[in-house]
């Protein structure tokens, strides 16, 4: 598969084979760099069918070469950069990144479906004077479109070896590894003739050169299939496109509820059975209380929601892999610009539905500082997957599972409304921010230029791998963070034990009980009980811990065996009023309660003042919205 051009190995003294070598992985956004990185290093870094997934450099050793470091860099079309992530690539290649030496060589990942842009970039990279090998990725998609690329001609014309790859399917891995081996041998034997200079050729000249080479190396014109164009006409239509997007999201939330229900019921039954069995098996005492009330009630409350989280991630991965998501970004560019954001913010905002931490980091793709800050400020309002267990718990407890208009599930509609509420609130806050800071002028200076990937059938192997990564990460979290916090919370709700002449329940005399009663007056106006106040504290570590904390608090605080034999949903159904439950949901639409998010905001904004301002406004908003919802719902349904 590899071309005839190979890297000449100079007959000079060979470097010691153990000397560290760094190879930079460079290419345009969404050309498959990270998939190639995974192939070369055996890593499992996140891969997606849209640009901007890699916003920082990451590195790992080349398989079989512990002294060779592969550096995966954010995608860029040029070394003349605009955004922070592209700046990372430029700085590394020019040796301007603190703590990072100049790479010894480059593995350039070229997009076979967009060779013109890739070759222009390659011509620019050649001016760096570093040895280069090229992985001609997405060769399968190019082939399916009737493109016949002669990599031997490309190699001859450009003087660098090419190899065809389909990184996501791990095709062409062996020739690429062989070529990488040749590159390492070459580097080991060379004295690194690095000569940095800005390319003499301007962009126009380089495009002319690229066109000239392409006319000889590519023998068939690229044509998108008809269905592709027709589908784009619909999905990118300003009205029909938005309707399609809303329908897709609506169906996803319906399916999350309808399809997950049987499996959730089974897990709930299993958790209840394990609790009962352990109660019968273990003698009454402190160990039984720790395991049943602390661990099983805490961890079990969260594990119940694994099916819903799995389904939500599955749908997002299918949308991601099919190539639909960047089209949604283009579609919303116009709408987002009206609230002071742009299509550039879409991918970070979309990532916010999974987790705010990588989403805040991915705002580095936004070149405008004001727009970036605005995106960071509104990101925590988008419903991250950690909030799903909280929503799902309260919805299951207070919203009846009935069908509306014959086909729609009422619980699914409620979940959809919560997601929409968070999104609309983010848009509203952003619009207000724009009104006061007039960020429009700066945003419009950076129009959205983004390459739309081709639609493709989602790759089952890739999706199942990514899905397993996400679900196993959630389960690991349940087994570590949630497990340990449940144990610590159990200690706080169990000790000190009630005095002999105690009149109230024992939990009232515990540390957590005292703390809960202490905080209760602050949250009483929005209907929160002291048990709910306790759950807010460990929820700072991760939002889903709120559910585990409620599980432990109610299990320990229950009367006799009543709480243990019941899972959390019926307990909340019986003890919380509708107004309280809705206020709790409203609070968590806005609550900035996640230390990891606040830490990453602090790191990305490099400003404690801005971090405190974002935290403060979100908390005030959460409290105010919960108060409004509590009052209105209370007036209608009673407190």
């Amino acid at each position: 598969m590899s071309s005839s051009v190979s890297i000449p190995v100079p007959i000079q003294q060979i470097k010691a084979s153990t000397a560290p070598i760094t190879l930079a992985l460079v290419g345009a956004p969404n050309c498959g760099k990270t998939a190639t990185f995974n192939v070369l290093t055996g890593s499992k870094a996140k891969v997606a069918n849209y640009s901007g997934v890699t916003v920082d450099k990451r590195s790992a050793a080349l398989l079989g070469h512990s002294n060779v470091n592969i550096l995966d860099l954010p995608g860029t079309y040029s070394l003349k950069t605009a955004s922070l992530d592209e700046e990372v690539t430029r700085k590394v290649l020019f040796g301007q990144m603190p703590g990072e030496s100049v790479p010894d060589g480059i593995i350039f990942v070229a997009d076979a479906t967009n060779l013109r842009m890739s070759l222009r970039m390659l011509l620019e990279l050649k001016s760096l004077g570093l040895p280069i090998i090229v992985a001609l990725n997405l060769s399968d998609v190019a082939h399916s479109r009737g493109l016949v690329v002669d990599e031997a001609i490309l190699s001859d014309e450009l003087g660098v070896p090419f190899v065809k790859t389909v990184a996501i399917k791990r095709k062409g891995c062996e020739p690429l590894m062989r070529l990488a081996g040749e590159l390492i041998e070459y580097i080991s034997g060379s004295d690194k003739p690095i000569h940095f200079f800005d390319s003499d050729s301007d962009t126009h000249t380089m495009y002319q050169q690229a066109d000239d080479i392409l006319s000889r190396a590519v023998t068939s014109a690229q044509r998108l299939p008809k269905w592709h164009e027709r589908l784009d006409q619909l999905t990118l239509h300003p009205v029909i496109g938005v309707v399609i997007l809303l329908m897709i999201l609506f169906v996803i939330f319906q399916a999350v509820y309808a399809w997950a229900a049987p499996l959730m019921d089974s897990i709930e039954w299993l958790v209840g059975s394990v609790g009962t069995l352990l109660m019968q098996w273990l003698p009454d005492g402190i160990l039984q209380s720790l395991i049943v009330d602390g661990i099983v009630a805490g961890v079990g409350s969260v594990v119940v929601f694994v099916p819903q989280i799995t389904l939500l991630f599955l749908f997002l991965l299918i949308l991601e892999d099919s190539g639909y998501l960047p089209r949604a970004a283009f579609l919303l560019d116009n709408l987002l610009s009206k609230v002071g954001l742009s299509g550039r913010s879409f991918i970070p905002l979309l990532s916010g539905f999974a987790c705010a931490v990588p989403a805040v980091m991915s705002t580095r793709t936004i070149p405008s500082h004001k727009e970036r800050l605005m995106a960071i400020a509104v990101l925590p309002m988008l419903t991250c997957s950690a909030r799903l267990p909280i929503y799902a718990l309260i919805i299951a407890a207070v919203i009846p599972s009935q069908t509306v208009l014959g086909i729609f599930n009422l619980q699914g509609i409620t979940l959809f409304i919560l997601y929409v509420a968070g999104t609309l609130s983010a848009a509203l806050v952003s619009w207000l921010f724009k009104r006061f800071h007039s960020a429009k002028s700066e945003s419009s200076a950076f129009p959205l230029l983004m390459e739309l990937p081709t639609y493709r059938m989602p790759n089952v192997k890739h999706i199942s791998g990514e899905l397993w990564d996400k679900v196993s990460a959630f389960l690991r979290k349940a087994g570590t963070v949630i497990f340990t916090l449940s144990v610590v919370l159990w200690v706080l709700v169990t000790f000190p034990s009630a005095p002999a002449n105690a009149v109230g329940p024992a939990i009232d005399y515990s540390f957590a009980g005292m703390l809960g009663h202490l905080i209760e007056p602050i949250f009483a106006p929005i209907g929160f009980t002291w048990q709910m106040c306790i759950s807010l504290i460990p929820g700072l570590a991760a939002r889903e811990v709120v559910v585990a904390a409620l599980g432990t608090v109610y299990a320990v605080g229950g009367v006799g065996d009543e709480a243990i034999n019941q899972t959390l949903i019926p307990i909340i159904h019986a003890q919380w009023g509708l107004a309280t439950a809705f206020a709790f949901l409203a609070f968590y639409v806005y609550a900035p309660m996640c230390l990891a998010t606040l830490a990453v905001i602090r790191r990305e904004t490099k400003s404690l003042k801005q971090t405190l301002a974002i935290t403060g406004y979100l908390f005030v908003l959460a409290y105010t919205m919960a108060w409004i919802v509590y009052r209105i719902t209370g007036q209608i349904f009673g407190f």
Binding site: A45, K46, V53, D56, K57, R58, S59, A60, L282, P283, G285, I286, L287, L290, S351, A354, C355, V357, P358, M361, D469, K470, A473, T480, V481, F483, T484, L485, V487, V488, V491, A541, L595, A596, A599, R603
Partner: protein, 41 residues
């Protein structure tokens, strides 16, 4: 089960949990995001 053994097991589980919460959640050493990418999972 002996009471002292019960208390010992509880003590070990609680001690490990407190250690984990203290070192991995509350006072986790900050690390760069250059290599692990775990947060994106």
């Amino acid at each position: 089960m002996n009471t002292w053994l019960e208390y010992l097991i509880v003590f070990i589980i609680v001690a490990i949990s407190v250690y984990y919460v203290w070192t991995k959640i509350l006072f986790k050493k900050s690390q760069g995001c250059s290599s692990c990418n775990k947060c994106a999972k």
